[in-house]
C-alpha cells in the first residue's frame, strides 16, 4: 500500500498498545521532516515520560521553500495523517494533539480540518490547530513547541528537548506529517510501505511530488517523473540544508537514509533540485545563502552575523567584485560558525555552502579571480 494512491479513509482505527513502539523501532522508519531521526526512538522517549499528559505535535509547517510533499500529502491523505496522530496519542497516552500547519498552506489546512470534522468524538476533541509562520526555522522541533506555547516560532536552547518538556511543559512528540502517515500504515498493515515522498524541483521535466520506493536511484526517480527538461549542472539533494552533488554521482545514489548517510549525504525533507547547466552555480549558491541568512531567527550572534557575512561574501564573488582573500574567508567563517547556534540553522547553512565550494570549486575560483584580473 502506498501513501498517495490509496483510498484516504480506511475505517476504524486499529487497536494498538505500547507494543506498537517495538514494531515502529524494528521497521526502521526514519523521520521525514529533515533530520531523519528514528521515529521509534522518539516515540519511546515520550512514552517513558508520559503520565497521560503527553502532547502530539503534528508537524506540517513545511518551511523549506522548494518542498511541497507535506502539503500534497495533507491534501491527499488527511485521514491517514490523523490516523497516525490518534495512534500516537493512544500509544503514548497523550491528552492533546496540535496540528501545526504552515500559515500559507491554506488548502492543506482546510483539507485537514475537513477530515477532522469527519472523525468521531471524543477523539476529535483532542485536536487543536496552530499556524506555523512562513519562516524557515518555524518547523524546527523546538521552534514549533515555542510557537504553540508562547506564539514565537523561534528555536530555544536544548536541552530540555520537546520529548522532555514540550507543549505546556509536557513530554511532546513532534513528528512530521509524512512520518505519521507511514506509522499509520504500519499499525494497519503490519509493515511500512517502504516508500518516500520527494519533491522534484528545478530543471525536471515535470517538477512536483512523486512517491518512490526506498532504494530507488535518483536517476530512476527523475526518469519516472518524465526525465530532465535540460542538462543539469548539479543536483541539490535534501533542500537548502542539503548538499550539491555532481549529476553523474547523484544519478546513481540510492534513496535511503542509511546509504546516503554513509556517504555524508542526506535526504533531508526529500527535495531534489536540478540546477540547469546554463545557470550560474555561484549565483544560485549566493541566492540560497542570502535566503538562509535572512531566515536566521537573529538570536545567536554567530548565526545572525556569520551567515550574513557569508552571504555577502558569496554575493561579492558572484558579482565578480571579491578581493583575492574572499574564498579563504568563506572557508574560515564556515568553520567558525558551525556548531555555534542554539539550533542547527547555522550548521545546515555551512554544510550546504561547503558542498558548493567543493562541487563548484572551479566556478568559485573563476568568479573570485574576476577582480584580480581587472586589477592586473
Amino acid at each position: 500500500m502506498r501513501l498517495l494512491d490509496s483510498r484516504d479513509h480506511l475505517g476504524e482505527l486499529p487497536r494498538v498498545g505500547p507494543r506498537f513502539i517495538d514494531a515502529l523501532e524494528s521497521s526502521g522508519l526514519a523521520g521525514r521532516g529533515g533530520a531523519g531521526f528514528p521515529a521509534g526512538v522518539k516515540w519511546r522517549a515520550v512514552a517513558q515520560r508520559s503520565r497521560g499528559d503527553a502532547v502530539i505535535l503534528v508537524n506540517g509547517a513545511e518551511g523549506e521553500p522548494r518542498s511541497k510533499k507535506d502539503r500534497v500529502l495533507m491534501c491527499a491523505r488527511p485521514h491517514l495523517i490523523l490516523d497516525g496522530a490518534f495512534i500516537a496519542a493512544r500509544v503514548l497516552r497523550a491528552g492533546r494533539i496540535v496540528l501545526y500547519i504552515g500559515e500559507r498552506h491554506t488548502a492543506a489546512r482546510d483539507s485537514m480540518l475537513r477530515a477532522l470534522g469527519e472523525r468521531p468524538e471524543p477523539e476529535r476533541g483532542l485536536v487543536s490547530l496552530a499556524a506555523a509562520p512562513a519562516r524557515y526555522v518555524a518547523g524546527a522541533e523546538a521552534a514549533a513547541v515555542h510557537m504553540v506555547n508562547e506564539g514565537l516560532a523561534t528555536p530555544t536552547n536544548t536541552p530540555p528537548y520537546p520529548f522532555e518538556r514540550g507543549v505546556d511543559g509536557a513530554p511532546t512528540l513532534v513528528q512530521n506529517v509524512e512520518t505519521l502517515a507511514h506509522a499509520a500504515l504500519l499499525a494497519r498493515t503490519g509493515s511500512i510501505p517502504g516508500t518516500m515522498l520527494l519533491t522534484l524541483a528545478g530543471a525536471a521535466a515535470r517538477p512536483g511530488v512523486v512517491e518512490v520506493d526506498e532504494g530507488t536511484t535518483i536517476g530512476e526517480a527523475i526518469q519516472r517523473a518524465g526525465g530532465v527538461a535540460e542538462t543539469p549542472r548539479a543536483v541539490l539533494l535534501g533542500g537548502y540544508f542539503g548538499s550539491w552533488v555532481e549529476p553523474e554521482r547523484a544519478w546513481k545514489l540510492q534513496l535511503d537514509h542509511r546509504s546516503l548517510r554513509d556517504q555524508d549525504l542526506g535526504l533531508g525533507c526529500g527535495v531534489i533540485g536540478l540546477l540547469p547547466a546554463r545557470g550560474c552555480p555561484v549565483c544560485e549558491t549566493a541566492g540560497i545563502m542570502r535566503y538562509l541568512a535572512t531566515e536566521s531567527s537573529a538570536q545567536c550572534g554567530p548565526c545572525f552575523f556569520g551567515l550574513r557575512a557569508l552571504a555577502d561574501a558569496c554575493t561579492r564573488i558572484a558579482e565578480g567584485g571579491a578581493d583575492p582573500d574572499a574564498l579563504r574567508r568563506l572557508h574560515r567563517w564556515s568553520a567558525d560558525v558551525r556548531g555555534r547556534g542554539a539550533c542547527k540553522h547555522p550548521d545546515g547553512a555551512v554544510i550546504f555552502l561547503s558542498s558548493a565550494l567543493t562541487v563548484f570549486a572551479r566556478e568559485f575560483a573563476e568568479h573570485a579571480s574576476h577582480l584580480a584580473r581587472r586589477i592586473a
Binding site: T156, C300, G301, P302, F305, G306, W333, D336, R340, A342
Partner: protein
C-alpha cells in the same frame, strides 16, 4: 574517568561583549563578530580560577562552568 569542568555558552543570551576572551585567552578566542569560540575539552586545573572569573564577570550571565565526566 575523572570529574572535570567544561565551559558552556548560552548562545541566545550571549551578546558578544568579549570579557570572557579577555580574561581567559588561553581557552576563549573571539570570532570576527566578537562572539566567543571555546577550545574543546575540559578546563585544565590551573585555569579553573580564571574560568570561574570569566563566568562571574559576564555581563549577561551567558557563560557557565559545568561538571562533566571527562575521559582522560
Amino acid at each position: 574517568m575523572s570529574r572535570a569542568h567544561g565551559l558552556v555558552v548560552d548562545r541566545i543570551k550571549c551578546d558578544g561583549r568579549g570579557l570572557c576572551a579577555e580574561l581567559l585567552p588561553e581557552l576563549i578566542r573571539l570570532d570576527d563578530w566578537g562572539y566567543p569560540i571555546l577550545a574543546p575539552g575540559a578546563v585544565p586545573q590551573h585555569l579553573l580560577p580564571l574560568a570561574q572569573r570569566a563566568v562571574e564577570e559576564c555581563p549577561v550571565l551567558a557563560i557557565a562552568l559545568r561538571r562533566t565526566e571527562h575521559r582522560r
